[in-house]
């Protein structure tokens, strides 16, 4: 399941971010009549089509896997958190319907209707992401029921929907999707702009991608700070693992990097800023922060994984935010997007960072919650299916995903990245033979 999720989340992030890029490009075309923007929207749409299909089928696998792997969990939690999943189902419907219209309706509906269909795709993509993250947030902050004899009673699905972690997590995830997609796409086009600085296509692509990625990447650390404070209150053990904070104590330093050793309870090779964590969290250096030793060893998550994943996310997030600050600063001074070689290099380097940060962030959230599948209520080990030999489907699906991943990358290269200048391949295909509708 973790592998399916780690695979699916890439497509989910792109499925939230790409429609926004597409729509902005198309909107620019309707406003300026510049055919380059139309070309851009169409090429991005093709990429989105490929990614969406793989996202949809891997999402289908997930909805079954919830039962195939965690039947006890679903039996327990289904009535409580089925609500966001069913709302998500309708968001998928609108997303799939309007994506069909968007992709195949270029020459069938008016320009306005087409743009509106794109907006519908973008909105429902974001909404479906929000609903599923609400379900996940409930696992971190279970509410909306009482437990009697190990079973949930007095169920209140509405309260579960508005659980304590929902706001922080959905905000952080939605921003992450725009930051990762925006800066990821910007990095790809920056590479082409660097090779061919006058190419109008890639310059405009870079511009649109930055419009989406930069604001999100700028606020992401603030949202992350909000999440961290929330985790410290709600799941102090997860927080201690994130910070590799072993012993409950005051005057806790703020650590950067380092490799924690769970045996000895030490953090090696870290930069430590004295008292800073205590200060940061509460405003007072002497405040006691619970460490991993606050709970018995069998209730602690694997600290190494959680700490390192957290450090990776924060490091990459800081990089992305600084890069974005640079873009904004240049724009404020010069009223144009910078294309200095150094910035382009920075963008190219940062292209994969968003997705890596997303994977790292999910590892923090999910592994940090272990050994619980529902925080402090159900243990992961108790929820697993009795079916033996789970290694077989796991290896099978991993190979399947690896294969799909390779094909998707190859096709994306083929379809969108290939520099216009050379004619776009696949022109002879029926659907796209009628290019471009004349701008008025």
């Amino acid at each position: 399941m973790a592998i399916s999720l780690a695979f699916h989340i890439i497509f989910a992030v792109v499925g939230i971010g790409m429609p926004a890029l597409m729509v902005i490009a198309e909107w620019r075309w309707t406003r300026t009549g510049d055919p380059v923007f139309l070309d851009l929207a169409r090429r991005w749409a093709k990429g989105t089509a490929i990614l969406f299909a793989v996202g949809a089928v891997s999402g289908t696998v997930l909805s079954f896997e919830l039962g195939l792997l965690w039947p006890k969990f679903m039996e327990w939690a289904g009535p409580i958190i089925g609500m966001p999943f069913s709302l998500e189902g309708f968001a998928f419907f609108t997303e799939a319907i309007f994506l069909g219209i968007y992709l195949y309706g270029w020459d069938r509906i008016s320009k306005q209707a087409h743009l509106a269909a794109g907006v519908m795709v973008a909105v429902s993509g974001a909404v479906s992401g929000i609903f599923v993250v609400i379900a996940n947030a409930w696992m971190n902050a279970p509410t909306g029921f009482d437990v009697v004899n190990g079973l949930p009673v007095n169920i209140d699905p509405i309260a579960a929907l508005f659980n304590d972690a929902a706001f922080e997590q959905t905000l952080h995830m939605t921003l992450a999707a725009y930051a990762a997609t925006g800066l990821g796409v910007a990095g790809i086009h920056a590479w082409f702009v660097r090779r061919d600085p006058t190419n109008a296509f890639h310059r405009r692509a870079l511009q649109v991608a930055l419009i989406v990625g930069v604001p999100a990447a700028l606020v992401q650390p603030l949202s992350g700070d909000l999440s961290a404070r929330d985790v410290a209150k709600r799941q102090p053990v997860k927080f201690a693992a994130m910070e590799a904070h072993f012993e409950t104590s005051g005057n806790v330093p703020f650590v950067i990097g380092g490799i924690p050793n769970a045996e000895t309870g030490e953090l090696q090779y870290a930069i430590k800023i004295p008292n800073a964590l205590s200060l940061l969290m509460t405003g007072s250096a002497s405040t006691v922060i619970p460490g991993l030793d606050a709970v018995p060893p069998e209730d602690r998550p694997p600290v190494g994984v959680v700490h390192i994943a957290f450090q990776v996310m924060v490091a990459l997030g800081s990089y992305m935010a600084l890069l974005s600050l640079w873009v904004v600063w240049h724009w404020v001074r010069k009223r144009e997007f910078s294309r200095t070689p150094l910035l382009l290099m920075g963008l190219i380097l940062g292209a994969p960072f968003g997705i890596i940060a997303v994977e790292a962030g999910w590892i923090v959230t999910e592994v940090g919650r272990q050994p619980w599948i529902v925080h402090n209520l159900i243990r992961t080990a108790d929820a697993v299916t009795p079916v033996p030999g789970l290694i077989v489907p796991m290896v099978g699906f991993t190979l399947l995903y690896a294969f799909l991943g390779v094909v998707v990358v190859a096709l994306l290269r083929r379809q969108i990245i290939r520099s216009p200048g050379a004619p776009m391949e696949g022109f002879e295909t029926r659907e796209f033979a009628v290019l471009p509708a004349k701008p008025e």
Binding site: G67, E75, G78, F85, F90, I155, L411, E428, T429
Partner: protein, 340 residues
Amino acid sequence: MSTLDLPLVLAGVMVVCLTLYVIMGGADFGGGVWDLLASGPRRHQQRALIADVISPIWEANHVWLIIVVVILFTAFPKAFSTLAVGLHIPLSLMLVGVVLRGSAFTFRAYDSRRDTVQRRWGVMFAGASTITPVLLGICAGAVASGQIGAARTGDFTALYVTPWMTPFALLTGVLTLCLFAFLAAVFLTVEAEPGALQDDFRARALWSALALGAAALALRWSAQTAAPHVSAGLTRGVLPWAVLLTTAVISVICFTALWTRRYRLARGSAVAQVTLIIWGWAFAQHPYIVPETLTIEAAAAPTVTLRLLLIALCVGTVILVPSLWYLFRVFSAGKHEKHE
């Protein structure tokens, strides 16, 4: 009725969604079957028509399956976990089919136009489209036979293989394949322009109608011993007989309409036929959701959950219906003028 029997209503909604999935999603799978079996001088046109018809809508059609699963785990969590454990193997295999079908179809549309490349994805798409319905049918047959959750002790085979590895379940798999292929062929007669291509699909519709009829009779016969509860349900009282009779009459109408080239009538009656088959099964299985293991009542989630789910489904429908209507309108209007 003073108070709504909520579990029953939601079970009904689930069957509605299942019916819609079979009609729409099933036809997309059936299209893949005809891609595999494309033959004769017009095989390229056959494949092209299938791809044209499926492309804009298959992802939306596919969501019906997700809705069925969501209703199942929200409203009937015990049934979901029982099925997910008992049918672990065929469901996992079916998922592989779902993944390969969808991605190969998309990859074919966006990969090189070279024949070898197209052929490779085409075979994967068509193969997965053929195997997946069989697996789906096997799961349905295993449920109907009352074998799921029945064996509570035993070794791996007894628990996870025998319940679905039965002649009855396999026969249901075959029936499902015939059903999907039949639906697709009938729908394609309406989509094709009059002429040789349309006749190709007419012939396919007629042959698959015969295969479907044969599979249905065989299954009905086998059900007497293999699925006693459902079988008994199909003979209890007047209603089942009326349903059976109507299905038979509609099958004849459908066949005659195909024979006399009244394709819209054929399409309407094919849809009616499928609807009756699924609802016949659902009624026969009542009051069980997993026959002889779990009743609808016993599997149901608490009333709050059911009520909220029903409200959510109603609100969703208000958004969904106009969107779907728009989708189908955009892609059916002026179809024949395109590409000329």
